[in-house]
Structure formats: structure tokens, C-alpha cells
Symmetry: C2
Subunit: 404 residues, 2 copies
């Protein structure tokens, strides 16, 4: 196994039990031996659900199932396995999902459309769903509200640490809890990975509002991170609301939205911190773009540039490569007003290096683990922040030297 | 200096003198010492010119000059320096170009708008145009029709070999010659590089036809290669026609077009073969896309995927990553009709690995230096081929371990 990422948080966070959610983790031995590879979550009746899925046109069978089931707006069971992605498996993959869903629907006495599934792991091999369904009854008996850490561990593939986050929020005068877990260490890692995130709350929120909150939150978090610009066939982000907290459904959701966004960014940044071979966590903020969308596209262009990412790996404050990345983004930028700050220090302004530029403090910033880049492209009021990691020999070693 | 790329051609090609073109290479010591860093080409009166330039919105001052000068349709002098790109140099960069152009216009007794310039090298530092112009008179005295190899060497930056190609073509019953030189070893290499290519012919072709030929040819060659998906601020491709061969300007250009396209692909592939850290030359052909443009976008998506490129570096026939890259291209593809051949061997068909897949011959192909990938996406008749190289530890070493 890999060493833990140098950018990992100190420890898995404290995550309180959440009314209406019980979790379990178990060993189905689908591919891995001697570790949990199956997570089951049971949610109380009337739980609402929202989801955001990969834009890949070669999406996996589980993703297609979830997209369809989502139209019902309700969820009772979530089943996630690691070790096999059930992607590029043709009709066999579709049937594998159907058998899994039916077994869960029988076991938990619910309609199949209330069962959601996700799979992560190797692509192009049939999923041994018989092993998966055989493991379900024992898991069902062991479900517990406190199993967050075990659940986060069961869905890991090439991850070097389990990812979780918790927030509390107020809806009117009722306190609600939001818990989330995630996995991923590349947009797609070897052929063993993908990004999955599952968020649960005891708040009472109708499915359509929930979907709006999740879609908006995703734009600022999971859609604002990149490790290697690659897109998995299985990327899945889901939000479940059990309604057990008993809040007034008409109360404004401002604080809940803020806390949800914060939690999504927390989880998304944990995925970046586990980026394959990462040694630096990089925040790229773009100001002065034509609009926020343009700012984000410029930010992602910088964050995806192999030349920017390798320069940072080499602790080189190479602002010329940042200029290059701004130029290729295809968004409006004023070359002669462009300004760049690195680590809070102005490096370039008015399209040129600042007069008397002293690289010493910038070079010092580049030696740290947390790198901040600010670019002002000088044309408007659009802002965005995106997050990425550096591109190192470690990435090549993991992805080139690995044989499935 | 770097070792020569393992993918380099055996030798620089024989390039005949070409009526109306005289070249020179010399030492201006702009950045490099002890090597030629300046190339001058003088062309006969009435030479027509066409150009294709970077799409970067932070294009360099020389690129902006050439775009403007191109509207005249005529060229007399081309001046190219290596060592400094004169990019992101603000108003100082514009003035530097103007002084260079004026000095050349005086020396060669022509209008400034017939002088074309290109610069490649470090970004963001003022260009010492005084050194450049001081070196011009001696170069002018040494101009010669046979200096192709020296010219190609003078414009190198991180290139490990000089790049040239020559073809002859028939226009009506007149034989004409096409000679081209290029440099580049990344779409943009360290902060020391860019892609430049200059093609010359003695054919008599009006500027507007020449532009059409070059624009079309570029799409199939320089716009169909990628090393690291990054776009230089200075990418420049120019075509000059001296008209000295005396062909009938009304004769059809079919054979000339075919030979020009072949030469452009030859030069473009030489740039890929000098890709930073490259150990494998990869041709990606896409069939069955909605149209040719869609096929090319899918091909480039595969060719730019870090996960595909690292898998090839690791000699891993990882078709799962190819599927992933097809999915993220955003172009129509039928997941369940997708077929993949590697080295001419069918690996996947109908959206699944082929029954009884034997990896042995595919693994053998992956050990070679020339990798062929064919993907049929199963929706239409669109075809395209693109070229790239693998992503290796060498790329990281060159780009991360380098400090300017």
C-alpha cells in the first residue's frame, strides 16, 4: 500500500450519529482480500435524495441506474462497493446492477427505485454481484449510526486516507447535522478509482430543493477541483435528507446552504490532498474575468496545465507558465493588465514582471505545502477559486509503473 | 545539453537549394553563448506569404507584428532568434520588434511590412534587440541557398535535434520544391520554448491561395499533434512562395497540396518525436465519429490524457483509460459499440473486452517505440489521426527539476 499523502489531515473528523441514517461496512472480497470493500447505508422512510453524476458519455451501469432512480426523489438504501467499477461491462453490467438492486429491495423491504448503487475499482471486468449480495444480510444486521469512519474506509481504492467531514447548521430554530464521506485520488486513478461522495443530513428538505442545493454546491466544490484533468466513468455525488430533525420546511436555507457548501469544499479538497503523487496543495484564484464562469475556466486551465503543475513540484515560481495557461484558456484577458500574486506577493503587474522583482519571499512560499496563486486578468468582475495539486515523479510512478 | 531523443530520425534530411531563398545563421549571444541563436532568410521580390499563429490570448509581440504584416501578403525577410521569446514584455516588447523590423528593412532595402519576425526562448524578460540588430549585417553578407541545417539549428531551444523536411511537387508540368524547418519539443517547453515552423517553396502561388493551403494543412498536421496540451504564446507556422519556379498560376494544385500536407505532417511529427521526455511515438486514429471534427477532438482527448500517456510509458495496454478518455471528450460515442485496436489487434468490441482476449501480442506491441491506437466510436463516418508521445519521468525531470 502507498504511504499516507503528506497533505492528509491529521485525523478523520469526529462525525456524530445522524437521525435516520445507519451504516455498515463489510468484506465481500470482490477484488481486495482482508479489508472491507462494501458499504451499506439504510435511511429512514421519506428520505429525499439528490445527485450529480459524471458527464462522461461512457458512464458506468451504476451511474445510469442512479440517474434513472433519482427521478423518484426518494431513497431508502445506498450500496457502494470498491474493487470493481462495473464500467465498460456492456449488458452484463446492467444486469449486475439489477440483481444487486433487487436483492437489496428484498432485504430492506422497499421499492427497487429507492435503492442507489455505486461501484469503484477496475474497469472492464464483470462485477461479481453474487459475492456482493451474499454479503448483504450480515451487513444489514450490523448497521449502526456511528460507522462513519468504517464506511469511508470501505469505499477507498487507491486513496491513502479516509475522507469525511461534518457540519451543523440552523434551519429556522432547529439545529441539523450534515455528514459526508468521499473517496478519490485522481479524477480517475489508475484504472482502480473514481470520485465518489455521499452526503447525509437529518434536515427535512424536499427533493427538488435538495437537487438545487447540490447542483449549486457541486459547481463550487467538486467541479472546481482537478488532479489530472481526467474524468471518471463513475463520478457520483449524492445528498440524502432524512427529514428526522423536524425543521420547518418553509424556513430559509441560507445557513444550511452555507454549511453544505463548506462541507462539499472540505470533502473536495480532501480528494485533491490525496491526489496521486501530490506534494503541494494549490489554490488558484482568478479575479477580473468577464464573469464567474470565465474565471473558473481560466482557473481550471491554470490548474490543469502540466507545465504549471510541474513548475510547482519543482518549487519554481514560474509565472511565465501561468501567463501561458491564461492565454490558452480562450477567455477574455487583457495581456497588458494581467497581474499575478504568488503567496500574497505581487510578481507581475500591467503585463510585465514588477519593477525590482525580488524572488526571495516568493521562493520561500514555493517551498511550503500550501501554494496560493492569484491572477487578475483585468477585464471584468468575475471571480473563482479552484484547487489542485502538483504533478510529480510520484504521479508517473503510480500511473506508469503500475500494471493491473 | 540533453541527450538526443530516442525517437529522433537518423539524420537531418538532404534539403536542396530553392530558387529565391537565401539563409544565414549567426551568433547574437542574446542568451546562449557559443552557439548560433539567430536565423535570417532573404526571399526574392514578389514572394507571397501565409501564416497561422497561436490562438493564445496572451500572444507575444512578434506574433502580433506578423499577424498585422500578413495583410500585405508579401515577404522579403524573415528574422528568428532563440533564447528570448519577447513574450509578456509589455510595451517594451512591441518597441523591440519595431526596432528589429526597421533595422532589417534598412539593411535589406524593403518596406517594414515585408519583414517577419519570430522569437523563442525565455518569457517575461526584455529582448536585447540591440545585440540582434548588431549581428544582422554580418549575417546578410553570408546568406546562402544551402544553409538549411544551420538555420534549423539556430532556432532550437530545448530541442534535442534539428528538424527539417523537403518534398518536390508538380504544378502543371513544372517541378517545384518545398523545404521546411521547425523547432519545438513541447507545445511550450520549460519557459524556453515554443513551436515555430517555416516552409518555403519556389512555386508561384498568390497569397490568398497560399493562406488557404496552409490553414487546411495545419489542421491535419500541427493542429493534430500534442505533447502536453499546453499552448505557447508564440506558436508560428509560416509559408513563403518565391514564385521563381515559373509555374502556371492557373494550374491545379492537387499534387502541391498533397506534398505540402505530407511535409507539414513530417515536420509536426518530428516535433512530437522531440517531446520532452518522450520514449514512445503514438498515433491515435479515431473512426466512426459524428464527423471529422468530432473524431479529432476525441483523438486529442485520448492523446492529452495523462492517464493514457503514463500507461503507454509503462507499456501497459490499458484500454480502460482509453474508454475513459473517449467518455470525457464530450462527443457522441456509443458506449456499447465502442471498439479498440492496439497495434492492429482487436482488444475491445461492442463495449466490452473481446472474448478470450490474449494480451500477449498487444503487450509485445507496447514494448516498441511506435504505438498505434485505433478507436471506433460507432456513431458515424468521421475519421481523424493525431500524434503524441508518452508522459514519463523524463518530462517531470525536465519541467520540475529545471530552474530558470
Amino acid at each position: 500500500m502507498s504511504d499516507i499523502s503528506p497533505l492528509a489531515p491529521d485525523h478523520f473528523p469526529a462525525m456524530p450519529a445522524l437521525q435516520g441514517v445507519r451504516l455498515g461496512a463489510g468484506e465481500a472480497a470482490i477484488r481486495y482480500q482482508g479489508r472491507n470493500d462494501l458499504m451499506v447505508v439504510e435511511m429512514s422512510p421519506k428520505t429525499t435524495v439528490a445527485g450529480v453524476f459524471t458527464r462522461s458519455l461512457t458512464a458506468s451501469a451504476p451511474v445510469e441506474w442512479c440517474r434513472k432512480a433519482l427521478s423518484g426523489g426518494q431513497a431508502h438504501v445506498l450500496i457502494v462497493n470498491s474493487g470493481n467499477a462495473n464500467a465498460f461491462t456492456g449488458q452484463a453490467g446492467v444486469e449486475s446492477v439489477e440483481r444487486t438492486v433487487e436483492a437489496a429491495a428484498d432485504l430492506f423491504s422497499c421499492r427497487p427505485s429507492k435503492v442507489f448503487v455505486a461501484s469503484t475499482g477496475v474497469i472492464g471486468e464483470p462485477l461479481a454481484d453474487d459475492k456482493l449480495t451474499a454479503a448483504l444480510p450480515a451487513l444489514e444486521r450490523g448497521l449502526d449510526g456511528d460507522n462513519w469512519h468504517a464506511a469511508a474506509q470501505a469505499i477507498m481504492t487507491t486513496d491513502t486516507f479516509a475522507k469525511g467531514a461534518s457540519r451543523s447548521a440552523m434551519i429556522g430554530d432547529v439545529q441539523v447535522t450534515i455528514n459526508g464521506i468521499a473517496k478519490g485520488s485522481g479524477m480517475i486513478a489508475p484504472d482502480m478509482a473514481t470520485m465518489l461522495a455521499f452526503v447525509f443530513t437529518d434536515a427535512d428538505i424536499p427533493a427538488d430543493s435538495l437537487q438545487e442545493l447540490l447542483t449549486n454546491g457541486c459547481e463550487k466544490s467538486f467541479n472546481a477541483i482537478t488532479v489530472d484533468s481526467d474524468t471518471s466513468t463513475s463520478d457520483t455525488l449524492m445528498l440524502f435528507a432524512t427529514g428526522q430533525a423536524g425543521n420547518d420546511v418553509a424556513a430559509p436555507l441560507d445557513n444550511f446552504t452555507a454549511m453544505l457548501d463548506e462541507l462539499l469544499i472540505d470533502l473536495a479538497c480532501q480528494v485533491v490532498r490525496d491526489g496521486e503523487g501530490a506534494t503541494k496543495f494549490i489554490a488558484v484564484t482568478v479575479h477580473g474575468a468577464e464573469n464567474d464562469g470565465a474565471a473558473k475556466r481560466i482557473g481550471l486551465c491554470i490548474a490543469n496545465s502540466p507545465l504549471v503543475k510541474t513548475a510547482i513540484a519543482g518549487e519554481d515560481a514560474n509565472w511565465g507558465r501561468i501567463v501561458m495557461a491564461v492565454g490558452k484558456a480562450g477567455e477574455k484577458a487583457d495581456r497588458d493588465k494581467l497581474a499575478i500574486d504568488i503567496g500574497g506577493i505581487r510578481v507581475a503587474a500591467d503585463g510585465m514582471v514588477v519593477p525590482g522583482y525580488d524572488e526571495t519571499p516568493v521562493a520561500e512560499h514555493m517551498k511550503g505545502q500550501e501554494i496560493d496563486i492569484l491572477v487578475d486578468v483585468g477585464v471584468g468582475a468575475g471571480n473563482a477559486t479552484v484547487w489542485t495539486c502538483d504533478l510529480t515523479h510520484g504521479y508517473i510512478t503510480i500511473n506508469a509503473d503500475y500494471r493491473s
